[in-house]
């Protein structure tokens, strides 16, 4: 740059120091030959594609950034909470993420040998088994950095990981050709194998599944034919198998769901929802917080029932929290009900019928009349919604900064400032992971 300025001042002679005293009228543009001397910088090529990034926030133990917990320089102090989105550097593009109770799993869609990374608590080996340096037969209790999780794949260079899901102390990994892998606590059979004392290893479920969902201590599997299988803790009927015992192997769920093609299952706590391909919503499990009050007055249903939701229309996606539920319909409108901070102000803390959230909260205005919500997720006591313009809105109880907007609770949907388009978000108890595509 110094060379350039020397050339451009050449006409005035070698008087670099005096250029401050030379005055020019403000409106006069510079002469052509001086402009052509400046080099042209190229920051981005013509065919650059948007990149995928990962942003994390919430309780710092599970975020995968070791310097938050164990500072690497003397100036930094250990931080407990990360209240706003923080960029997490990953080696590969992450296609799926899931947050459990104090741990996180990130998966990439690639054919490389390392497809899965985990960080956070792993006392129940919910992130697989990593040998410690001191003892070959012991694993770490927690990992602060994203460490590769090895899967016992038959063809590690062909199989891709499609989806990951995490529950309280167990996780499920769905691959495209080798079925579902489960890791972690199996005290209630939630991993889908026979309960064995002092479990350490991983287990493979061989049937083909199209998606998995983890509840607190139970698991739901959705097959490509649209039927739902469940296993795990069933005291609240959340397995939907008609009884309240634990199930240690995946069993097809009946009730009103028999013969119905399901497109999506959702569960988080002890209540489960399923949305069929023709837009009907089915629910089973815990109903203490009026989640299933439209069909029953009892506190639990152990078998799926069709929920008659007035005013909702065709459902597209459902999301369950512990005490609240949300449904997204085909027009992109969000309906919430249950107990807790539902998103309609501090007055509405309990509702048995679906309440619609006004679209003005999600950015709909005179200049943008067609903004719709494209997906919805539910954490422990909070909600997250992604609009079709790539903006992330959160509301609910802000436990340890999990909303990403500061410290306070949020009573109506509020934007999370992330530099890019949010494509997916994984919600946990007290932390969240957002998969973001950069703008350019």
């Amino acid at each position: 740059m110094a060379l350039v300025s020397l050339r451009s001042c050449g006409r005035r002679g070698f008087h670099l120091g005096l250029s401050a005293y030379v005055t020019r009228p403000v409106g006069t543009p510079r002469k052509r030959e001086q402009q052509d001397d400046t080099p042209v910088f190229q920051y981005v090529g013509q065919h650059r594609k948007p990149q995928g990034k990962v942003f994390v926030w919430g309780y710092t133990g599970a975020l995968g950034i070791p310097s938050f917990v164990v500072p690497d320089s003397g100036r930094k102090k250990p931080r407990k909470y990360q209240l706003t989105p923080y960029h997490l550097d990953t080696e590969q593009k992450i296609s799926s993420a899931a947050c459990g109770y104090g741990f996180t799993l990130l998966a990439s869609n690639s054919r490389d040998l390392t497809k899965l990374w985990g960080m956070g608590l792993k006392k129940d080996s919910q992130l697989g088994f990593q040998r410690t340096q001191h003892d070959r037969y012991k694993s770490y209790d927690y990992v602060l950095e994203a460490s590769p999780v090895s899967l016992p794949l038959v063809n590690p260079q062909e199989t891709r990981v499609l989806q990951v899901s995490c529950g309280r102390a167990h996780s499920l990994v769905l691959t495209d050709s080798e079925g579902v892998f489960s890791m972690g606590n199996n005290a209630y059979g939630q991993r889908g194998r026979k309960i064995v004392e002092d479990e350490v290893y991983r287990f493979v479920l061989q049937q083909y599944k199209s998606s998995v969902a983890c509840g607190q201590d139970h698991s739901l599997f959705l097959t490509d034919r649209g039927s739902v299988n469940a296993c795990g803790w069933g005291a609240d009927g959340q397995t939907g198998l008609g009884y309240h015992n634990k199930a240690s192997c995946p069993v097809p769920v009946g009730g009103d769901l028999a013969g119905v093609k399901v497109q999506q299952v959702a569960t988080y706590g002890d209540c489960s929802l399923a949305v069929s391909t023709d837009g009907h919503v089915f629910g089973w499990g815990n109903s203490e917080y009026l989640q299933l009050a439209s069909v029953t007055e009892a506190t639990q249903i152990s078998s799926p029932r069709l929920l008659a939701l007035r005013g909702v229309g065709r459902g597209r996606q459902a999301a369950c929290g512990v005490t609240q539920v949300a449904v997204l319909n085909e027009e992109g409108e969000v309906f919430v009900w249950g107990f807790g901070i539902l998103g309609r102000g501090p007055k509405l803390s309990e509702s048995a019928i679906p309440e619609r959230l006004p679209a003005t909260f999600f950015g709909r205005s005179e200049s943008n009349p067609t903004v719709k919500v494209s997906s919805i997720r539910c954490g422990l006591n909070h909600f997250a919604a992604i609009t079709d313009r790539g903006e992330l809105f959160v509301w609910g109880k802000n436990m340890r900064g999990c909303l990403g907007i500061g410290k306070h609770d949020q009573y109506f949907p509020w934007r999370v400032t992330v530099p890019g388009h949010v494509t997916d978000v994984a919600r946990g108890v007290d932390h969240m992971v957002a998969l973001v595509r950069s703008i350019i």
Binding site: V26, G27, T28, P29, R30, Q35, T38, P39, V40, F41, Q42, Y43, V44, G45, Q46, H47, R48, R344, G345, P346, K347, P358, T360, F361, G363, S365, E366, S367, N368, R389, G390, E391, H408, D409, Y411, F412, W414, R415, T417, P419, H421, I439, I440
Partner: protein, 277 residues
């Protein structure tokens, strides 16, 4: 010998009255030397109304002309070139994505600076109706932003904003360029609306005569009266504390301004109310 011609009665100003009257002329929202467009002036008693116009947080419309490819020291195309960059990767799609992101951040700022406690039910009710507005001191906030014309390297944006300066708008063009990984300079700022005063009603240079000015003042007399009345209500509303009285004031004001324009809305928050044109 006296010069009788010079002693004619009509030469004395005590007889005919002064040739020129002194009138105070005040300027509303300023427009700097680089920009053009609507400039609201107040004459005589109208200066008081100007003050109310400034306080009432009206939005203003601008057309911004931009050019990709260079960055200058004062964000205009006449400044000293600091850097030149390529811009062949910029498409309308990417520009609109960047504008959407900027608009999202500004909508968040609209609510944050509204000085209403967000944990109350009243804040929720106002937010549902889209009536939360910045009150008092706030940084420049854009309420609307879109791209009108795109022909690389030139492009035109239309913005609606509150509390802005023209230098901020030129810097906005520069920042749009940065987000697109290139650089941009502003080649023109033109204000097309300042509150209820639109560019169609503005007087151009050849109409700066007494007749046209008087006509224009008469045309806007209704709007001026409204601004004065709204400010009066604002002052009285600030002294009231109870919710019921405040609601009654809201209804009275709403009836008053309904006749003016469909887009005029008013709300009373705990401290005063905000007018949006």
């Amino acid at each position: 010998m006296h010069n009788y011609k010079s002693m004619k009665l009509m030469n004395f100003s005590e007889v005919t009255g002064p040739q020129f009257h002194k009138v105070h002329v005040g300027v509303g929202h300023r427009l700097d030397a680089f920009s053009s467009g609507v400039l609201v002036l107040g004459i005589g008693k109208g200066n008081g109304v100007l003050e109310h116009l400034c306080k009432s947080h009206v939005t203003r419309d601008y057309m911004l002309e931009g050019e990709f490819g260079k960055a200058t020291d004062n964000f205009t195309h006449t400044g000293r070139v600091i850097e030149k960059t390529t811009y062949d990767h910029v498409t309308l799609d990417k520009l609109e994505r960047v504008l959407a992101m900027i608009q999202g951040a500004n909508q968040k700022a609209l609510i944050m600076y509204s000085q209403v406690d967000l944990h109350t039910q009243e804040a929720y009710e106002l937010a549902v109706r889209g009536l939360l507005y910045p009150h008092g001191k706030s940084p420049p906030i854009l309420t609307g932003l879109r791209c009108i014309h795109f022909n690389p390297p030139h492009f035109t944006l239309e913005v609606q904003c509150v509390n802005e300066t023209q230098k901020y708008l030129r810097k906005l063009i520069h920042e749009v360029g940065l987000e697109l990984r290139t650089s941009a300079v502003c080649s023109g700022v033109r204000r097309t609306r300042d509150g209820p005063f639109k560019v169609e009603n503005a007087l151009t240079r050849q109409h700066w005569t007494a007749g046209s000015i008087i006509q224009a003042i008469a045309h806007f007399s209704k709007a001026t009266r409204k601004i004065r009345k709204l400010e009066m209500y604002k002052q009285t509303a600030g002294q009231l504390n109870s919710n019921a009285q405040v609601q009654e004031q809201t209804r009275m004001c709403e009836n008053l301004v309904k006749t003016y324009s469909k887009r005029l809305t008013s709300v009373i928050a705990t401290k005063g109310y905000i007018t949006k044109y």
